[in-house]
Amino acid sequence: MTISELLSQYGDKYVEALLTTWQLTFISFAGAMIIGIIITVMRVCPVKPLRISGDIYVQIFRNIPGASLLIFLVYALPNLQVILSYYQCVLIATVLIPAAFASEYLMSGINAIGIGQIEAARSLGMDFGIMMRKVVIPQAVRFSILPMTNLLIATMLTTSLASQVPLNPKDLTGLVSYINTRDTGGVTSFLISAVMYCGTAVIIGQIGSYIDRKVRIVR
């Protein structure tokens, strides 16, 4: 199909799919950040079982393939009488996996601060709350800007998992596979989706490195 044929026939669908991908990406990323922060708090706290659970969570979800997790949620959970909608399954997968990476990045952000500054904060009489608010979190956040930017892009790529279940409206990958199973969309049909993904990634990347330049800590 030529590009004009594709656009006249599927133009609205592409726009709809782009919006779906964006929506999935931002909801997943927000969820991943919340869970990632909770997991990180567990991993730094002095209560051993919580620490270990946090570590186990990260090892499971940073190592499980997205497809394997999604298939488990969609096909295996109903056997446990847990029935979720396709959309919920996709969201759970695209939240749980990036959350593990979010926690890893936050942990390395915290570790990058160095023990010395923690001791200095304590020596000035800062209690735990002040130390976290004034010394630890501001620095951990700055160290995490670039990794989190990449995580946002990775989350967008992960949302292509949505193409593995019947969803309406479809995401960018799902739409292309739909077009090409019914029609001969050709390279162009893939390129349109690819450019949409890629354009989003480039914009996210630019914003991320702009913020990073603004707040970067000179070492």
């Binding site: 601060i113 160095g114 010395g116 500054q117 001791e119 200095a120 904060a121 304590r122 020596s123 000035l124 009489g125 800062m126 209690d127 002040i130 004034k134 010394v135 501001p138 620095q139 700055r142 800590i217 000179v218 070492r219």
Partner: protein, 257 residues
């Protein structure tokens, strides 16, 4: 140069810092063995000894950056709390200067000095800023006030770190090898600031390898080896006529270099 000692009425004063029978272990290693030390108001005590002798550890136990196994540490007669608000509050009265400066990397030099008084002591910003600038001037880094720590030389960073501690109006200052991480040409500028502080009557506990500083500024030299205090004496006496074999060996090994 002699300090005005008559303000110290020894009979009325309780020691600013007092350690009694302090023991500490790192796993199997006996890091501090029955340490007894008391530091009076206005006194400058210099801890020296070979590396691994426990002098840094001793210094760090005083504001509980290191915990102890047994024994007692008192600050102005008050037992060092084990945590919580009381510990944080007590720490505001104990200044600490580290080997690696440990300025907060995400804040300017001025902010570093102001953070303690504002965020911990909750003092009004304007007043604190004025005082912070004066302190920075006193240590000679006022021209760097708006820069970030990484932009400063080691000597400048360390002087700023001293100003940060002074901003809390501490009752005692701990210096944990403050010049060990510095290039040779920067050591003196930091020692000068410390000397001035001593002459102004600040109570100081200093861990250092700078023997000249110890000789000129200390009221008392405490020599440690293998986690024990081996010898305590006035600097003149210690450096000219050390009583213990260990101290003599130590001084010999330094003089050879």
């Amino acid at each position: 140069m002699e300090r005005n000692k008559d303000v110290l009425d020894k009979s009325l004063e309780i020691p600013v810092v007092e350690l009694r029978h302090v023991e500490k272990y790192y796993g199997e290693m006996h890091a501090l063995k029955d340490i007894n030390l008391s530091v009076e108001r206005g006194e400058v005590v210099v801890l020296i000894g070979p590396s691994g002798s426990g002098k840094s550890t001793l210094c760090r136990t005083i504001n509980r950056l290191e915990t102890i196994k047994s024994g007692e540490i008192r600050i102005e007669g008050k037992k060092l709390p084990e945590g919580g608000k009381e510990l944080a509050e007590l720490r505001t009265q104990i200044g600490m200067v580290f080997q690696s400066f440990n300025l907060f990397a995400h804040r300017t030099i001025l902010d570093n000095v102001m953070m303690g008084p504002i965020d911990v002591l909750k003092r009004p910003e304007e007043e604190v800023k004025k005082e912070a600038l004066e302190l920075l001037k006193r240590v000679g880094v006022d021209s760097q006030a708006d820069k970030f720590p990484a932009k400063l030389s080691g000597g400048q960073q360390q002087r700023a770190a001293i100003a940060r501690s002074l901003a809390m109006h501490p009752k005692v200052m701990l210096f944990d090898e403050p010049t060990s991480a510095l290039d040779p040409e920067m050591i003196q500028e930091v020692l000068d600031v410390m000397t001035e502080l001593a002459h102004e009557g600040m109570t100081m506990i200093v861990v250092t390898h700078e023997m000249n500083f110890a000789r000129r500024v200390a009221d008392r030299v405490v020599f440690m080896a293998d986690g024990s205090i081996i010898e305590e004496a006035a600097p003149d006496e210690f450096f000219t006529n050390p009583k213990s074999e260990r101290a003599r060996e130590f001084l010999d090994s330094i003089n050879r270099h």
